[in-house]
């Protein structure tokens, strides 16, 4: 039973987010603090999970993923309600009559600072709950329902087209210079967010265009999945505007950009500085892996990234831990925080990269790694021999 439940932690965390944002005032910051404490502290305290149980009812695991969509919709609704001038859908009145807590009064008292926290908070929640489930679901290209739900989830961070670029671009080019999502040695996370976002969107467009040309379909029509991807985000923005006007929309845009940035930061952590020859098979050592328990449960084994890239078609519950693969510095959230301080990040990754060059790289990769060090513009990397 527990083997099913362990992947339901995000549902509980989503409820915490819904409740804390509904309560308003400083409860918003408290909810955020709980999130950070669980994901940061949990990985430090609870160590690794290297089990790969077998499942008799994998469909249950798929339903758990699908649930992310209604939860995301509810969350964005509650945030819009916080920003709206009216009591949309009588939500505040309903909460008050249900619990006796004067949600409308609390909403009045919610400070600008709390609104700021809400942007960061919800961006993180969407990054975990919508983007990561969206990633898992859009890999299931054979299942139209999963693919559709996955793309809608990604549309909450303007990124439905990640479904195209990630599968048909990133998985093909991972750890080579052709991959927008692989950060070369010496690039800072902030540069990566911008570069990877722009190049990823361009790549998705090209991949889709090529597919349409091959099928002799017109590019500027509704069967263009890239266009449809942008239309999905536009539809969500219209819904948000209808609910909560300009204020709600500004909140949503900031939040969605931040959620997209969290995805790029995760890309950055997963392949930073790794190299591979074009056209050589993707191996477990072309990703940074981690088996931290809390991260793995919350993120559906996305952490088991080495196996994910070596066998991209496997559903998450079949991914193996690969404890011998190159390991990330910490769990996902702790490593995430480290990337935000580039000098510290580059310094911490130097011994990891040196170890990678010495133990994992093929002779050709070793040579490429030396070149990458020279190009990194970081003296300590350039001094490596």
């Amino acid at each position: 039973m527990f083997k099913y439940l362990k992947f339901m932690s995000f549902h509980l965390m989503a409820l915490i987010a819904i409740v804390s944002i509904t309560l308003g005032e400083s409860y918003i910051s408290m909810g955020f603090a709980i999130w950070v404490a669980v994901y940061l502290g949990g990985d430090i305290l609870f160590g690794d999970d290297v089990h790969t149980p077998s499942y008799r009812f994998p469909a249950l695991l798929t339903w758990q993923l699908w649930l992310a969509l209604p939860l995301t919709v509810i969350l964005v609704f509650v945030c819009c309600w916080q920003f709206a001038s009216q009591d949309i859908g009588q939500y505040g009145a309903w909460i008050s009559s249900l619990t006796g807590y004067d949600a409308l009064q609390a909403r009045q008292n919610t400070s600008v600072f709390q609104y700021g926290v809400m942007v960061v908070y919800l961006g993180l929640v969407v990054g975990v709950m919508a983007t990561i489930t969206g990633h898992e679901l859009t890999h299931r290209t054979w299942d139209p329902v999963s693919l559709l739900i996955g793309r809608w989830l990604l549309a909450f961070s303007f990124d439905a087209n990640f479904a195209i670029e990630h599968v048909y671009g990133h998985h093909k080019y991972v750890s080579t210079l052709n991959d927008p999502a692989t950060a070369p040695r010496g690039r800072s996370v902030y540069a990566h967010i911008i570069i990877s976002t722009i190049k990823g969107n361009i790549s998705a467009w090209h991949i889709e265009q090529q597919r349409l040309v091959r099928k002799q379909l017109a590019v500027w029509r509704w069967h263009n999945k890239a266009l449809r991807g942008y239309a999905m985000s536009l539809a969500i923005m219209m819904w948000v505007f209808w609910l909560a006007g300009w204020q709600g929309l500004s909140f949503f845009v900031l939040m969605a950009l931040w959620a997209k940035a969290t995805l790029e930061i995760v890309n950055y952590m997963e392949h930073y500085g790794l190299v591979r020859e074009l056209n050589s098979p993707v191996k477990p050592h072309h990703s940074w892996n981690t088996n931290k328990r809390v991260s793995s449960w919350a993120m559906f084994n996305l952490t088991r990234h080495s196996h994910h890239h070596a066998q991209g078609q496997l559903p998450y519950h079949q991914l193996a831990p690969y404890p011998d693969a190159p390991q990330m510095i910490g769990g996902y959230l702790s490593t995430f925080v480290l990337t935000l301080i580039p000098p510290l990040w580059h310094r911490l990754m130097l011994p990891k990269l040196q170890h990678w060059d010495a133990h994992f790289a093929t002779p050709a990769e070793y040579h490429m790694a030396q070149q990458a060090n020279q190009k990194s513009k970081i003296a300590a990397y350039q001094a490596c021999k």
Partner: protein
């Protein structure tokens, strides 16, 4: 009638040699071939690189992803499929060059 409820198995022939007598209809052609210790070329296994492309000589497969992302219109017309994205629906016969090839970025048009 019963066959509707039990997953059936089909034969898999590669380069005119019967390699798997009972290949699962729930597994890709690539997975069945690899399980039978055949060095079937492959890289990405998600239908993005084209390394596993091969020609379907006879039989029917279900494709798990749109092969037009990878294969040219001409190749598709010639019956090329991606082994990592093809699940057999009947007994299949496949032609493939089993020597490992550089493929992902070979010009395809």
């Amino acid at each position: 009638m019963l066959s509707m409820f039990t997953a059936k198995a089909v034969s898999l022939t590669i380069n005119d040699t019967l390699v798997v007598e009972q290949a699962s209809v729930k597994q890709t052609v690539l997975a069945s071939a690899l399980a039978a210790d055949i060095a079937f070329p492959h890289h990405c296994q998600v239908g993005s690189c084209g390394a596993c492309r091969c020609q379907l000589v006879s039989g029917e497969v279900k494709q798990l992803t749109d092969s037009a992302y990878v294969l040219s219109a001409k190749a598709i017309a010639q019956g090329m499929i991606l082994a990592c994205q093809s699940v057999p629906k009947s007994a299949v016969n496949i032609k493939v060059n089993l020597r490992q090839r550089q493929l992902a970025d070979e010009p395809q048009e």
